[in-house]
Amino acid sequence: MASSIRKKNFKQNNWMGYFFIGPWLLAFLAFTLLPMAASLYFAFNDYSSLDSLDKARWIGLQNFERMFFNDNKYWKSVGATLYYVIFAIPLRLTMALGLAMLLNTGRNGVSFYRAAFYAPSIVGGSIAVAVMWRQVFGTEGLFNAAIRLLGLPTRTWLGDPDYAIWTLIALAVWQFGSPMLIFLAGLKQIPTEFYEAASIDGANGVRKFISITLPLLSPVIFFNLIMQMISGLMVFTQAFIITGGAPLDTTLFYALYIYRRAFENFQMGYASAMAWVLLIIIAVFATIVFKTSNQWVYYESKEE
């Protein structure tokens, strides 16, 4: 008797569970899983987004062949994206860690600064900030005005093949808020006794940072590195609005090139193939970081 009630109850519980996750599940199936499956299929097809679905033509691996051997712009976009990730992500994390440590000192007004520093990250991915960035680095923009005040030579930053990508990197570094908050949470977990003991032993600030902060924070650094790397490889909005890939394709990031092929050149099959290769690239990068993590990530609990 009791068991049958429990069983019925259990079934009902399931039913209620499905009811509650239903909307999410439906949206996930319709707007994530289905498009993903479709794009996997398109990746092996010659399919123009102007045509109806039945016009897709199976071409095997030809999209991939074209990508790797016959499209020099593809490799340019890979190069630009890696350049961006290699410079923007370490700089952003350094900035985030530095400010998190400043905010962790318990001075007055810390919560105000924490919110103030976080603000750029909330608005950072938005169109509005990208448009503003265009103004700041424009020929008559704020940045050139500041440089002129210092008596340095001005440049057309956004149009210069050597510097345009750095305006995007600067924007990325400015958006350090979310890793900063995570670092801050990590820093608060480190027991102050360690620092006190180190001080008694005569360690200076640098020594404490290297021997206590970095090892104990390494799981958080690891997490931030993975998350930032993934978002870095997918960078789109900033380049789309600020530079549009120009000049000389130096800011033609991978995601922007996918967009251009899919929605401006209507080569949905080719773009889908590129998107799946990006997924593999991200997976490879993440795996490398994971594999090397046991060399440098220190988990306290493991030692026990």
Binding site: I5, N9, Q12, M16, S48, S49, L50, D51, S52, L53, K73, F137, G138, T139, E140, T156, W157, L158, G159, D160, P161, T243, G244, G245, A246, P247, L248, D249, L252, R260, F263, E264, N265, F266, Q267
Partner: protein, 460 residues
């Protein structure tokens, strides 16, 4: 004890959910059931009483891109048409240029295209080739579309493979717009209609020296590359759209070399400056309009906006594109945009009738007021001329002047054109040359190779 209680509350919850959900649904349906529906269908209201006698109203959907000004004018014409034709109900959607294209491509994939859609010369070959827009020749011969008052020159741009797939909404031609004041100040006469590229370079250098501003803006676009070969009796693309259309790279190489000289003399905004400050900006924000340059490369209908931005104290005059010494005109008369009837239309004849109204009705064109370029119907033009303002008059005069010397329009851009411009012409030719990463000869050779590679896919 626990179980029944929670069961009960769950049942209650479900009932509550069903009731609220259901009533929300009812609420959502309610406005649609009432006779006065939401915004897009509103104009149909006055038409409703007349409809029952004649049976069902034909429904047409229409889509276009443009500025707010264009939306307002177009909607007024739709209302006027529905007032005159109570049996037709037109709903519409409009957007900016890029969004319009995205929307239309999505609807094409879903077999949901509107009856009438605005088209650009750059896409009609591709859309017609894929059967997305239908030939209108039958309607032209049946009289649903009346072109008795329209010269073939104006219609030609809408023909793909000999079939009329798109109706021109206004005529345009390229020009260099000149600030008359700057020419007077530097003691130069306005260029003649048959000036050459040599004249152009000399004029530009003189303006730079004497007026101390940029001589000209807008030389980096692919339109001038095409026009350069037009004046030599060729075109950028072969007539069948499967290969490059010219034999000799030299004219283009010379053009690139001229750009380098002008850039060095600071007579034009450098490529870097252009990308940083003017690329993608509206004409009102570009150098001529803001007084930073004496000339700018435009389409004739853009001059109205430029003159407005420049203000009454300045006068903008239009001259045709320069030509090579001994060459023909570099100009052609281009349809600024079109209306097409799509594959998904259930009432193509009614759609054609509306396009006819848009083209030939004088009252409708008084509302549209040549915002899409010079009207193609002769009577409409005549009726409009006395009402024109300064800039519009300049535009009408210019298009009339140019039609006499213009070369015939070449076939619409082949599929792959947008790909070539964005992926090859801008970054690998213009950028590479202007940033001195490639020699003009090598860049022109690369362009030839890439054009041939991309267009080879159009071979049947």
């Amino acid at each position: 004890m626990l179980a029944p209680k929670s069961k009960l509350s769950r049942r209650k919850f479900l009932q509550a959910a069903a009731i609220t959900g259901g009533s929300a649904l009812l609420a959502a349906c309610a406005p649609a059931a009432t006779p006065a529906p939401a915004k897009p269908a509103e104009p149909a209201k006055p038409a409703a009483p007349a409809a029952p006698a004649g049976g069902k109203a034909t429904e047409l959907r229409m889509a276009w891109w443009g500025s707010q000004d264009r939306h307002d004018r177009t909607i007024k014409v739709i209302d006027l048409y529905m007032k005159k034709n109570p049996n037709v109900k037109i709903t519409y959607e409009f957007a900016g240029f890029a969004d319009h294209l995205t929307k239309m491509t999505t609807q094409a994939a879903g077999n949901q295209l509107p009856d009438i859609m605005q088209q650009d010369y750059a896409w009609i070959a591709e859309w017609a080739g894929r059967g997305l827009i239908i030939p209108l020749d039958n309607f032209a011969s049946s009289g649903a579309l009346n072109f008795k008052d329209v010269s073939e020159d104006f219609l030609k741009g809408g023909r793909v493979g000999g079939k009329l797939v798109a109706v021109n909404l206004g005529s345009n031609s390229q020009c260099f717009s000149c600030d008359q004041g700057d020419f007077e100040k530097t003691g130069l006469a306005l260029p003649k209609d048959d000036w050459t590229w040599d004249d152009f370079e000399k004029t530009s250098m003189t303006i730079k020296e004497k007026a101390g501003k940029w001589a000209v803006h807008g030389l980096y676009g692919e339109q001038l590359w095409k026009s350069l070969y037009l004046s030599l009796g060729e075109w950028s693309y072969a007539t069948d759209g499967t290969a490059i259309g010219y034999k000799d790279d030299a004219p283009f190489v010379n053009y690139l070399k001229m750009l380098l000289r002008l850039q060095k003399a600071n007579a034009i905004p450098s490529r870097s400056e252009d990308l940083a400050s003017f690329d993608g900006k509206s004409v009102e924000q570009q150098p001529l309009a803001v007084g930073k340059a004496a000339m700018d490369s435009h389409w004739s209908n853009q001059v109205v906006a430029v003159q407005k931005a420049a203000g009454d104290s300045r006068t903008i005059k239009m001259v045709p594109l320069p030509r090579p010494a001994g060459g023909k005109s570099s100009n052609y008369i281009k349809p600024s945009q079109f209306f097409s009837v799509t594959r998904d239309s259930k009432a193509p004849e009614e759609a054609a009738k509306f396009i006819d109204f848009f083209t030939n009705d004088i009252e409708a064109n008084d509302i549209l007021f040549a915002e899409r370029g010079v009207p193609i119907a002769g009577k409409v033009r005549e009726a409009m001329i006395p009402k024109l303002g300064k800039a519009q008059k300049e535009m009408f005069d210019y298009v009339a002047r140019v039609s006499k010397i213009a070369e015939p329009i070449r076939p619409a851009d082949p599929p792959g054109h947008a790909d070539l411009v964005k992926n090859v012409f801008n970054p690998q030719v213009i950028d590479a040359v202007m940033f001195e990463k490639a020699k003009p000869e090598d860049a022109a050779a690369l362009l030839r190779k890439e054009v041939n590679a991309v267009l080879a896919k159009n071979k049947k």
